[in-house]
């Protein structure tokens, strides 16, 4: 289901300061298909900030971020179609049903209704398609959001703390899904405190290595 296009995300000499504090400097990254990068580091190290920079959502930095050799801002709409970004919030509307939420979340890729329903079944929300999300638990709401990983045809995933609120089975399912994606040639950048297991091409980057001094 992945498009066979090559995926290459590069960061060169990225520098970012926030409130007179250097979060990280001289940060380099080379990520291509078949690999998973896990950003680690203590709270406040700038993991989410870096993730948003890589996703093209934050422009407040110096240095270059390239997708297939092009700067993100110059190919942003194309980039947006090829990468799936999931923030640390589930982006689920409480008074909409699981299906309605998933439909909105995937609307830029225009995916068939049947496949959305199948995805909800796969994340064990069968029978909840028509239930407003406020009646679901936090973990179930997270699953609604994660169901995207089954239907969206993007080779690059950028996920911020996707394991939040998931139960054991959920964690196992997500690990399995990450493994499949990488094995199929996809690329993943993820922030998580969770120790990922048996994912091919796993690379853990501790952001505190790039931490700068206070100005």
């Amino acid at each position: 289901m992945l498009s066979q296009a090559p995926v290459e995300l590069q960061a060169r000499d990225v520098f970012c300061e926030r409130d007179d504090r250097v979060l990280f400097e001289h940060f380099d990254l080379n990520l291509s298909g078949g690999a998973l990068v896990q950003l680690a580091g203590p709270n406040g190290a700038g993991k989410t900030t870096l993730l948003r920079i890589l996703a093209g959502l934050n422009h407040d930095f110096e240095g270059d971020v390239l997708f297939n050799g092009e700067p993100l801002h110059s190919i942003y709409p194309e980039y947006a179609a090829q990468r799936l970004y999931m923030g640390h919030l589930a982006a689920v509307k409480k008074s909409l049903t699981a299906l309605e939420n998933l439909r909105w979340l995937t609307s830029q890729w225009q995916i068939d209704e049947d496949r959305l329903v199948q995805a909800l079944e796969a994340v064990e929300l069968m029978g909840y398609e028509m239930t407003p999300c406020q009646q679901l638990s936090a973990g179930q709401q997270r699953r609604v959001s994660l169901a995207r990983l089954l239907v969206v045809p993007a080779p690059l995933w950028i996920l911020d703390e996707p394991f939040t609120a998931l139960d054991k089975q959920g964690v196992a399912w997500l690990e399995q899904r990450l493994r499949e994606h990488v094995e199929q040639g996809g690329a993943v950048v993820i922030t998580s405190h969770h120790a990922l297991q048996a994912v091919p091409g796993l690379q853990v980057l501790d952001l505190s290595r790039w931490a700068g001094d206070a100005l």
């Binding site: 959502l57 589930a90 982006a91 509307k93 008074s95 909409l96 609307s107 830029q108």
Partner: protein
């Protein structure tokens, strides 16, 4: 279905699921208008003179009341960030949001205004002017107000702040609209005022989405 139409549909659906969103401002509109005869003077002659202005002030306040939540929930639950991630322009989002807001606030206010006109003894000749001025003027309120809502989306209890920011900007709309209704009630021509409201609407459609988009980006860059 593209993201733009999907969002339009989603937000209207949300309004349908949470009727309070659009019903509460409507009830507020009705109640505020009812306060004037109680506080000032129930004499029909006096009321018919101030009816247009009172209805417009009440409509303006009701609009402000419903603006607070326009972007706040989207910022808080992460859906706004997902919009930004989609590559779709924030300009389009700002227009869609203002349109939805008008559908659930300006439009019902316009439709209910004749009832208030009846309560406040609005002269018969002024009803049409009231409806037209509201139909042309309330979209301007939604568009301008959306800028304030975008600016205060990340601020805790930003509702009152939003009111402070936006009220002075509403003055031109209020002046021309209330004057249109007043002129109609004394049998004078009011095309000029409606023309001005139309010009303000055109200007607001062109410019305010840029300001909203910039403000939204700011709220997302945290």
């Amino acid at each position: 279905m593209s993201l733009v139409t999907a969002t339009l549909r989603r937000d209207l659906l949300l309004a349908a699921r949470n009727p309070g969103e659009w019903l509460n401002p409507l009830m507020f509109f009705l109640m505020v208008a009812a306060l004037f005869p109680l506080a000032v003077d129930p004499d029909p002659k006096f009321l018919s003179k101030i009816a247009g202005g009172v209805i417009w002030v009440a409509a303006l306040l009701a609009t402000l009341l419903s603006l607070d939540a326009l972007y706040k929930t989207d910022v808080d639950d992460g859906t706004l960030e997902q919009w930004l991630a989609s590559g779709e322009s924030l300009y389009a989002l700002a227009l869609v949001k203002a349109l939805v807001h008008w559908c659930i606030s300006g439009l019902p206010l316009t439709l209910m205004a004749p009832l208030l006109g009846l309560m406040l003894h609005l002269p018969d000749s002024a009803y049409w002017a009231l409806i037209v001025s509201l139909a042309v003027g309330t979209p301007v309120l939604s568009l301008l107000g959306a800028v304030g809502a975008a600016l205060t989306a990340g601020v805790r209890s930003g509702g009152l702040l939003l009111t402070l920011l936006i009220l002075p900007l509403y003055v031109p709309v209020l002046i021309f609209a209330a004057s249109a209704v007043y002129h109609a009630s004394i049998g004078m021509d009011y095309n000029g005022q409606i023309g001005f409201l139309g010009a303000l609407l055109a200007l607001a459609v062109c410019l305010t989405p840029f300001a909203s988009a910039a403000a939204l980006k700011l709220n997302l860059s945290r």
